[in-house]
């Protein structure tokens, strides 16, 4: 690291090296320690699918998968995720074959303006993995070891993704279809 003296607050940007695997491609990068994963993806790797909605972890538009788990890219410092395997909405499809969630979102018209959609898709992909791993939600009854993906479960588990157009009525059945 450069540009700083031990003990005092650094006056100039501090740089750090890191390695990331993003949608299957290895990257070696030098970044400002202040850079979020979201900014790194958008501004350094030109992966602009993940959106900067609020930049405070409140809207979910920046949701990406870090080592298979969904996370808010805006609150994740890039430097703290050295070595991570990242998947963004650009990495969900298999070549020309859409991810089942993407296909279901199209079939159900599960968006209007589309701004929140990349975050919704990555969040749903991560969420289905959590259900598959038997993780409960706040609406899962005590003692239930198998989570049934009811509408109530989908709504609760997806509550970290806001849609200002209010497309929830179509997002929920789209996710239910992809889960089958």
């Amino acid at each position: 690291m450069a540009g700083s003296t031990e003990g005092a607050r650094p006056e100039s940007p501090v740089l750090a090296q890191l390695r990331l695997r993003v949608n299957g491609t290895e990257h070696e990068l030098t970044v400002d320690t202040r850079m979020s994963l979201l900014d790194l993806l958008r501004e350094r790797l030109d992966l602009t699918g993940a959106k900067k909605g609020c930049d405070h972890g409140q809207c979910g538009a920046c949701t990406i998968l870090i080592d298979g788990r969904r996370a808010n890219g805006c609150l994740a410092l890039a430097v703290a995720h050295d070595g991570a395997d990242i998947v963004t909405v650009e990495g969900l499809a298999d070549g020309d074959e859409l991810h089942p969630l993407q296909q279901a979102f199209i079939e159900h018209d599960a968006f209007q303006c589309g701004y929140c959609t990349p975050g919704q898709l990555c969040s749903a992909a991560g969420m289905l993995g959590e259900v598959n791993d038997g993780w409960p939600s706040a609406v899962t009854p005590q003692g239930d070891s198998e989570s049934q993906l009811t509408e109530a479960e989908i709504r609760e588990r997806m509550s970290g993704n806001l849609c200002r157009c209010g497309a929830y009525a179509n997002i929920v059945p789209a996710i239910a279809q992809a889960a089958r």
Binding site: G7, A8, V79, A80, D133, S159
Partner: protein, 329 residues
């Protein structure tokens, strides 16, 4: 955001030593609160010491005595999903799942959840006075927007509430916080870890400068209990509590063998409802007894101009939750 150095510690001793060498440093967990506060200019650390990869702190283990030791770097999601937690301490799993969102819980750590700031909107707005952020500058919340702030235990200087759901369950379960500092290790019980604002609202907890949370320990369950976490909020999911409750109830026939109640959203700390507990412990469990206990707990509440609704809400939540719990098998 101001520039900062970044260090990654390999174990607790190294993390503590790194912090001791740099007084302007902060420990970094998942960053879901700290990074946000840095972006807002509320926190301006010179160095972040990443403690998410410390040896032995990423797992949940059973101790020889039957307690469950939760490493400080375990994510909120992993804690809530752990089969042992779900079976023995369901109120804790439920509380964690009622907090934040799925993607935030994946990032957030157990240690970080305990150390998220007790806060209000004025604390987060650096253009406003705030005794917690800038001691002595004043508290606009007292006369301003305090609809969702404290009704008990507040001081002239601060009326903020602690937003953690997890901590409310830990208070009801009487968990302990294990910390390591320059002077060695110590164990701090919850409740007792968070502190009321008094004349030092800048201090949310009793942690001393340089101390690191290494684990949270849950005592072996004492017999069969019924447990429940309930949270009242302005929308059904992904919002802070107006009032929340964690309850652990043991009935012996119609008699209350033991009861523990903690409230969230009402104070600067997870609020242990000791008056209600005292009124119920050993008593016959009846609707009237529960109602009287809830009334006793809130009798001394000091609501502000616009948050008096929380007093009745807390009373009703205690009553309803205990009555519902008694009906479960």
């Amino acid at each position: 955001m101001r520039p900062f150095r970044y260090e990654r510690a390999a174990d607790a001793d190294q993390a503590v030593a790194l912090l001791a060498a740099e007084p302007e440093a902060r420990f970094l967990g998942g960053g879901t609160n700290l990074v946000d506060l840095m972006r807002l200019g509320v926190e301006t650390p010179g160095t972040l010491i990443d403690v998410t990869r410390l040896r032995d702190q990423d797992r949940i283990e059973e101790t020889a005595g039957g307690a469950l030791r939760v490493g400080a770097a375990v994510s909120n999601s992993e804690l809530a999903a752990d089969p042992r937690v779900r079976e023995r301490y369901p109120v804790l799993s439920e509380a964690v799942l009622h907090g934040a969102s799925g993607q935030l819980r994946n990032l957030a750590t157990v240690g970080g959840n305990l150390l998220q700031r007790t806060r209000c909107a004025y604390f987060q707005d650096v253009t406003k006075p705030c005794n917690k952020r800038a001691p002595g500058s004043g508290c606009p919340a007292r006369e301003g927007d305090h609809r969702n702030l404290a009704i008990v235990g507040h001081s002239e200087l601060c009326v903020a509430t602690n937003p953690s759901d997890m901590a409310v369950a830990l208070a009801a379960l009487e968990a302990t916080v294990h910390v390591r500092g320059p002077a060695g290790g110590r164990v701090i019980p919850i409740p007792g870890f968070h502190r009321l604002p008094g004349d030092q609202p800048q201090r949310d907890t009793v942690l001393e400068s340089g101390e690191l949370i290494t684990a949270v320990e849950l005592a072996p369950p004492a017999g069969a209990t019924r447990q429940r976490y309930r949270k009242v909020r302005e929308r059904r999911s992904y919002a802070f509590a107006l009032v929340s409750i964690a309850t652990v109830l043991a009935l012996d026939g119609d008699t209350v063998a033991d009861v523990r109640i903690a409230l969230g959203g009402v104070a600067h700390v997870p609020w242990r409802a000791t008056l209600a507990e005292q009124a119920l412990r050993g008593a016959e469990f009846t609707g009237d007894a529960v109602k009287r206990a809830a009334e006793a707990e809130l009798a001394e509440a000091q609501p502000l101009r616009d948050n008096g609704y929380k007093v009745e809400l807390a009373r009703n939540l205690i009553t309803r939750t205990l009555l519902d719990l008694a009906e479960t098998a």
